[in-house]
C-alpha cells in the first residue's frame, strides 16, 4: 500500500503542509506541536541534509510510538554535531557507544526491554553511511538475521563527512573525495545496503530522501507498525562533501531521484512492493552539475564517457525498479 497522494489541493502532498487538508492527513513536520527531536543549536553545517533527515525520521517515529522511543546512535556527523560534551540537541532518550556497534547496542536495548516485559517502548538505531555500510555492517547483518525488534535508519550522505570526506562503501562512482582524488571513486565498487537488507528477508526495507517528506514519514510510520528487524535508507545530501550550495540540499536530493540514480522503493520480506515513480525525468547531468565533487567531469573537454556510464546506471535503476511508466 503506497503513500497516499492527495490530489488537486494546490500543492497536493508535495509540500510539507497543506492548509486545505484535514488535520489527521497532515505531515508530522507541519504540526505546530511537532517534537523537534533534534532541536536548535546543533552544530551541523548550514543546509545539512542529515540534520533534516534525522529530525524528519525521529519525529515521525516519536509520533508513531506515542513518544515511547529510545534512539541508539552510531559515531559520525550526526552524533558529533548533536552531542558535543556536555550538551545535547536530542529531545528523545538517546545513547551512543561506538562507531561500529550501533545495531548491536540497539539489539541489546530491545533485548533489555523484552527482559523487563516492556512492550510499548520501541527502539530505533541510526547512523551515517560510514557507521552502517562499512564499520557497523557485521552488527547490522546480525541484527537483521536475528530479526531483532529494531528499526535501523541509515542517513546516507555517501562518504565519511565527519572526518573530512573520505570514501565509504556508499560513495558513488566518479565522485571526488579526499581519498579518491580526480578521477574520483572507481566504478564497480561499493555496496547497495538496501538490497543486502532485502536479502535477509526482513519484514521491511525502504529507501527515502529528504526531498520527499510525505513519503519519508509514511515509511517510518509503516515501519513502526511492524515488529522485527526493519531498515530505512535515507539519502541526505551533504553540502560540504558534495560541494553544493547550502540552499541546494533538497534540490539535489530531488534530482537524485528524478534522474533515477537513487531509486525510492519499499520492500517487505525481500520483495519490492512499491516504487516512487519519477515525476519529471531529468538527465544525470542536471544532478551532477550541481555538485563540486563531479566538477572534473565537466571540464574542457567534458568526460562524456564517464557521464554516459553514470547515465547507464541511472537507466538500469529505472529499468530494474520500473521507475518510469
Amino acid at each position: 500500500m503506497p503513500a497516499q497522494r492527495t490530489k488537486f489541493y494546490q500543492v497536493g502532498s508535495f509540500a510539507v503542509g497543506n492548509r486545505l487538508l484535514p488535520i489527521e492527513q497532515r505531515a508530522v513536520q507541519a504540526g505546530m506541536e511537532r517534537r523537534n527531536s533534534l532541536t536548535s543549536g546543533h552544530r551541523a553545517c548550514r543546509g545539512c541534509g542529515e540534520a533534516l533527515g534525522a529530525r524528519y525520521a525521529i519525529d515521525a517515529a516519536i509520533s508513531a510510538s506515542g513518544g515511547r522511543l529510545v534512539a541508539v546512535n552510531a559515531t559520525g556527523c550526526l552524533e558529533v554535531f548533536s552531542t558535543p560534551y556536555p550538551e545535547t540537541s536530542w529531545q528523545v532518550p538517546w545513547i551512543h557507544s561506538l562507531f561500529g556497534n550501533a545495531p548491536a547496542v540497539a539489539s541489546g536495548v530491545a533485548a533489555a526491554l523484552r527482559a523487563k516485559g516492556i512492550t510499548d517502548v520501541r527502539v530505533v538505531g541510526q547512523g551515517g553511511d560510514g557507521g552502517t555500510v562499512d564499520i557497523g555492517f557485521a552488527c547490522l547483518s546480525g541484527m537483521f538475521e536475528r530479526d531483532d525488534d529494531v528499526l535501523y535508519i541509515c542517513y546516507d550522505n555517501q562518504a565519511y563527512m565527519n572526518t573530512g570526506v573520505q570514501r565509504s562503501g556508499a560513495t558513488p562512482p566518479a565522485a571526488r573525495t579526499s581519498t579518491t582524488p580526480v578521477p574520483g571513486n572507481a566504478f564497480g565498487q561499493g555496496k547497495n545496503v538496501p538490497m543486502i537488507a532485502m536479502a535477509h528477508e526482513i519484514p521491511y526495507v525502504a529507501t527515502a530522501t529528504v526531498a520527499d517528506l510525505r513519503d519519508l514519514e509514511y515509511k517510518v510510520r509503516r515501519a513502526m507498525e511492524l515488529r522485527g528487524a526493519r531498515y530505512l535508507h535515507i539519502l541526505v545530501p551533504c553540502p560540504l562533501g558534495w560541494v553544493t550550495e547550502a540552499c541546494d540540499t533538497i534540490r539535489v536530493a530531488r534530482l537524485a531521484t528524478e534522474s533515477g540514480l537513487f531509486p525510492v522503493f519499499e520492500a517487505e520480506r525481500g520483495e519490492v512492493t512499491d516504487v516512487t515513480k519519477i515525476r519529471r525525468r531529468v538527465p544525470v547531468d542536471d544532478y551532477l552539475r550541481l555538485q563540486g565533487r563531479y566538477r572534473h567531469l565537466f571540464g574542457d573537454p567534458p568526460q562524456t564517457e564517464v557521464i554516459a556510464r553514470i547515465q547507464a546506471s541511472a537507466d538500469r535503476n529505472i529499468r530494474r525498479f520500473g521507475l518510469v511508466d
Binding site: A15, P86, I250, R280
Partner: protein, 541 residues
C-alpha cells in the same frame, strides 16, 4: 568557567544555549510580491486573495473580496477579456488558472443567494452626480456610495447598463444577470435617473459637490463608401442597440456584410447570424493578427459560421451586392490597394469601424481639453475643470467593460479624497512575482477545466447564452490551481525544510517568523518556497 572540566565551556544541558545564528551572513526575509494576475487586472482586483478564499472554500468571503474592487463579478465572468489569464504564471506550467470561470461562479452564487453589500461608512453629506449608467458610471456610483457619499446617476437610455446592455449581445451577457448586478447597486441607495440627457452640465451640477462623467462612445464612425441609392448601409452600434429596443430587430436581410475588425464587428456578424442571415461576412482591410478583436470573439464567430475576408476594403456598395478591393500590407504593415476587385452579394452592409463619444455635454465647461475625440484626464481621472472627473470610453484607454469598471473605482477614490480636501495616495506597489521566482515542483499537476459551450446549432438559432458556468466542484478545483505567486499561502515548506528549526509557525493565517538566534542562513527555506515569498538579505555587520 573555573568549575568546568578542562576545555569545556558550557554546562550540561540543551544545545539551545548554543546560538548558531551567529554563523549567519545572510538572513531570510518574508515578503509579498505582486502576482501577475493582480498586476494585469484593469479593475485592480486582488485576484489571488479571492481565489485563496474560494479554495477553502468560503465563497461568500471570496465574493466580498471581489466586491471590494468590482461590483460586477457575474458580468465580468462573462464579458471580461481576461488579461489576468494572459498574465497567469500557471500558463507557463500547463494552462492558466481559469480566473474568469471562478469569478463567474462567485457572481452567480451571489445572485442565487441574494448576497448584498452593506454601506458601513458614515454619511459624508456630500453629493456626487454621475453622468452615464454604464460600467464606469455604475462602478463609480457603487464605490462612492460605499465611501459614504450620496450619488445620483443620470442616463439618457431607457435602461441602465450602457454598452453592457446596448452593445453586448445577450448571448454573451444574459439580461437577468445584468439587471441583478445593477439592481444590487441601486438597492444600496444609488439614485438612478433614466431617460435624462444632460446637455448643460454646470446647470445639472447645482446642488452637487462633484461630477463623474462616463457617457461612453455610442456614435458609430461612418466611412465614406461610394454607394448606389438602393444600398442598405447601417452601423453596428445602431444594430446592436436596436436588439434591445421595443422596435423589433433591425432588418438586415439574408446576406450581411460587416465592415470592420473589432469586437463590435464580431458581435454584429454573430447577431446577424442569429437573426436568420444565411451568410454573414466580415470584411477587414488587414490580416487576422492585426485585428483589434479578441481571439475568443473571432474564434466563436468562426465556429458559428461567420466568414472572414481579410485584406479587403469595400470599394462600392449597391442594392444586393458590393465590390471589394483586395489589399496588401506594405512593409510598415499598412494596407495598400492592389487594383484587384471582386463582387460579393450583400443585402446590407453594417459598418463597425469604431465609435466616437458624444461630448456635447462638455460645452460651456472651462478648462476641458479634448484630443482625438476623447477627454483628457489627469492621473487622478480629473478633467481640466476642478471637481469634474471622467472615465470609461470617453477618455483615452482601451475600451472594455473591465477597464471602465477600473476607471470608476479609481475616480471614486480620487473624488472621495477631493471631497474631503485631500489627495488620494495609492499604496506602493510590490515588486512583480515572476515565474522564475517560483519553485513549481510543489504544485500538483492539474489540467485546466473548460467551461461548457452551447452547441453551434443552438447558438445560431437563438440568443441563449453561449458559454455555461462551472459546477461548484469544478470551480473549487479551478481555484485550487492557483500558485499563489509571490505570497505565502502557508504550505509549511519553510517550517519543514529548516534543518535548524529556526522557522516559527505562528498558526493558521498568521504565517511564519524566523528565529534569528538559530537561523544559520542556509537559504533552504527560500529555495524550497513554492511561491517565491521569501528572499535572502545580506546581514549588516
Amino acid at each position: 568557567m573555573d568549575d568546568k572540566p578542562f576545555a569545556i565551556t558550557l554546562g550540561v544541558g540543551s544545545s539551545l544555549a548554543n546560538k548558531t545564528g551567529a554563523w549567519r551572513t545572510e538572513r531570510p526575509v518574508y515578503l509579498d510580491r505582486l502576482p501577475p494576475c493582480n498586476n494585469a487586472c484593469p479593475a485592480g482586483e486582488n485576484i489571488q486573495q479571492w481565489l485563496s478564499l474560494a479554495e477553502e472554500p468560503s465563497y461568500e468571503a471570496a465574493w466580498r473580496q471581489v466586491m471590494r474592487d468590482n461590483p460586477f463579478p457575474a458580468i465580468m465572468g462573462r464579458v471580461c477579456y481576461r488579461p489576468c489569464e494572459t498574465a497567469c504564471n500557471r500558463g507557463k506550467l500547463d494552462e492558466a488558472v481559469g480566473v474568469n470561470s471562478v469569478e463567474r461562479f462567485l457572481g452567480d452564487e451571489a445572485i442565487r443567494n441574494g448576497w448584498t453589500m452593506p454601506v458601513e461608512a458614515p454619511p459624508s453629506g456630500k453629493r456626487v452626480l454621475v453622468v452615464g449608467a454604464g460600467p464606469a458610471g455604475l462602478s463609480a456610483a457603487y464605490h462612492l456610495t460605499l465611501l459614504g457619499h450620496r450619488v445620483t446617476v443620470a442616463d439618457s437610455g431607457s435602461a441602465a447598463g450602457g454598452m453592457m446592455r446596448f452593445g453586448i449581445p445577450r448571448y454573451r451577457l444574459p439580461r437577468e444577470i445584468l439587471d441583478a448586478e445593477i439592481g444590487r447597486i441601486t438597492a444600496m441607495g444609488v439614485t438612478l435617473e433614466l431617460n435624462r440627457t444632460i446637455t448643460d452640465l454646470p446647470a445639472a451640477m447645482r446642488g452637487y459637490d462633484a461630477a463623474f462623467l462616463a457617457v461612453g462612445a455610442h456614435i458609430g464612425k461612418r466611412a465614406y463608401i461610394p454607394a448606389g441609392d438602393s444600398a442598405r448601409i447601417l452601423d453596428a452600434v445602431s444594430v446592436l442597440r436596436g436588439m434591445e429596443g421595443d422596435a423589433g430587430a433591425p432588418l438586415l436581410g439574408r446576406r450581411v456584410v460587416v465592415y470592420g475588425g473589432g469586437n463590435t464587428a464580431m458581435d454584429a456578424a454573430r447577431t446577424a447570424k442569429r437573426l436568420g442571415a444565411a451568410d454573414a461576412v466580415v470584411v477587414y482591410r488587414r490580416t487576422r493578427d492585426r485585428m483589434p478583436a479578441h481571439d475568443v470573439e473571432v474564434t466563436e464567430a468562426a465556429e458559428e459560421g461567420v466568414r472572414m475576408k481579410w485584406l479587403s476594403t469595400i470599394a462600392h456598395a449597391d442594392g444586393g451586392r458590393i465590390t471589394i478591393e483586395k489589399m496588401r500590407l506594405d512593409e510598415t504593415g499598412f494596407p495598400q490597394p492592389t487594383g484587384e476587385y471582386e463582387e460579393l452579394a450583400a443585402d446590407s452592409v453594417v459598418l463597425a469601424l469604431g465609435q466616437e463619444a458624444d461630448l456635447t455635454l462638455l460645452s460651456g465647461l472651462p478648462g476641458i481639453e479634448v484630443a482625438d475625440g476623447v477627454v483628457k484626464v489627469g492621473p487622478n481621472m480629473m478633467t481640466g475643470c476642478p471637481g469634474v472627473f471622467a472615465g470609461g470610453d470617453m477618455v483615452p484607454a482601451e475600451r472594455t467593460v473591465t477597464v471602465a469598471v477600473g476607471h470608476g473605482k479609481k475616480a471614486a477614490r480620487h473624488i472621495d479624497a477631493w471631497l474631503r480636501g485631500g489627495a488620494y495616495e495609492p499604496p506602493p506597489r510590490h515588486g512583480l512575482a515572476d515565474f522564475d521566482l517560483l519553485n513549481t515542483w510543489y504544485y500538483s499537476d492539474a489540467p485546466a477545466t473548460v467551461r461548457p459551450k452551447l452547441d453551434v446549432a443552438r447558438r445560431i438559432s437563438t440568443f441563449d447564452e453561449v458559454e455555461g458556468g462551472l459546477e461548484e466542484s469544478t470551480a473549487l478545483f479551478e481555484a485550487r490551481r492557483c500558485l499563489s505567486c509571490g505570497n505565502c499561502f502557508e504550505c509549511d515548506n519553510c517550517y519543514g525544510v529548516c534543518p535548524d528549526n529556526a522557522i516559527v509557525k505562528l498558526g493558521p493565517g498568521l504565517r511564519f517568523a524566523v528565529d534569528l538566534d538559530f537561523c544559520k542562513g542556509c537559504g533552504l527555506c527560500v529555495a524550497e518556497c513554492p511561491a517565491g515569498a521569501i528572499e535572502m538579505v545580506p546581514e549588516v555587520t
